[in-house]
Symmetry: none
Subunit: 142 residues, 4 copies
DNA sequence: GTGGTCTAGACCACC
DNA sequence: GTGGTCTAGACCACC
């Protein structure tokens, strides 16, 4: 499964799911027409109540990202890719901006922030390298 | 006032206050022995309910950062500086790490993340400079 | 209370609430800035689960009709009136159109439908006359 | 085929089929003794799951409108005409009454409702005429 | 099997 | 007091 939920990171669980579905579409992991994992399947595999999953999917439907096929499941809409790419950018930028703003406001200067970020990127990049960077020939991706 | 509260950034308001008090101490804006602004003063100036301020101060007391001086107010403890410096680092690192982790997990690679961060640093650094460090020549602002 | 819910009329309860809130705003019964009845209050007075009320209010927020004032309640937005007037028209027209289409398709002709409608209007109009037609000078309101 | 199903009009699909069968009988399009189209035929022509058709037919049997002729199919019962005429009236009246009640409750007065109805009758009557009344010489279909 | 709706009841943050 | 989120479990319509 391509979702990883942290129930204590301050972001509501259903919101984490909404974001990750959008990211997966933006990334091509979920393609237009494809069915999302079912509410019950996700609920079991993430150990989360089905209502919470349903709430996330309902919001994705409101956002025009998915559509329900009665009795069959919930599918990625044909026009979702572009919207998800834009959403991913703005969602991630917002979060990074918030974190950086707090760091600056909290008394760190740009150099210290950059050093922290570089450290985090190194340690985190390794963990997801096999998933997120399947192109070994990129050369200097960092 | 050195607090800036965003009621919609996902972090609880009382938690934002706790963090910013710790940052102010780590930064030397608040020094050991100094009284915090009163609950009422802060509530009015931030347009926030006094209960929320009180909850933040209560948590600061639990964290061993401040102490109540009966009849006088709430003061920064003598041993708070070191704890706040450590807390600042870990709090900010945690938040930055979370944001970066989501970005990597969401399909951005390190280069793209660095570009976004550089952009945010440029735009934010300018804004904060005028707000957070208004006294370039002061030397001993406390 | 200005809501009347029928749990068995085929329309979801939360959807009935959404419609009636919009109608109340369109009608001036709820005015911009005014707080909606609280979730708990409505739940008790309508004998409906609070979650169902909350779901309705959440959809009203998605529709841009209301906004939540943290800790105070949910208020009608300043720009809700026009949107609700338009929504009322289209929602009611859709439902009337559906009913008429079924009647025509089911073998009634326009004259029979008009007769039924006239009968219903007479009996129903009387019931709500004091609420819905406060203008005695209209002359031929029917 | 004399059925037109709208999967999104709020009425359950099987219920739409039940109603339309009754209307067809009331209208003489289906006569006592006549076989209904088979479950499979209807399922294909309406692009609906056979289970849904079967559920509708089962309810028609419970309502005493049709009977199963073993090995031959499902036929309109000899005494169905009168029951369907009554059912048609009450079903359509109920729906029209519901729509009108909501319109009155929602703040429209009888005059506005009548104007909407007249508009709908005009536009719908034309469309339905070509489908439901294949008699080009009728002249005054209302 | 699928999602949609609803009830019942809990905890949280904020006023 | 206020709304927001979450869990647990039920029933429905449709496939």
């Amino acid at each position: 499964m391509f979702f990883s939920i942290d129930p204590n990171n301050g972001i509501a669980i259903y919101e984490q799911i909404v974001r990750q579905v959008k990211f997966a579409i933006a990334d091509g992991v979920l393609v237009p027409g494809q069915l999302l994992p079912s509410v019950r399947t996700l609920a079991v595999s993430l150990a989360i109540n089905p209502n919470t999953i349903a709430k996330a999917f309902s919001q994705l439907q409101n956002d025009g990202i998915v559509e329900t096929l009665r009795g069959r499941g919930i599918a990625v809409r044909g026009d979702a890719l572009e919207a998800c790419r834009e959403a991913r950018c703005s969602l991630l930028e917002d979060r990074l901006r918030g974190a950086i703003a707090e760091a600056l406001h909290g008394g760190l200067n740009a150099r210290e922030i950059k050093r922290i970020i570089a450290t985090q990127l190194e340690s985190l990049d390794g963990q997801v390298a096999t998933v997120a960077t399947p192109l070994p020939s990129t050369g200097n991706s960092s």
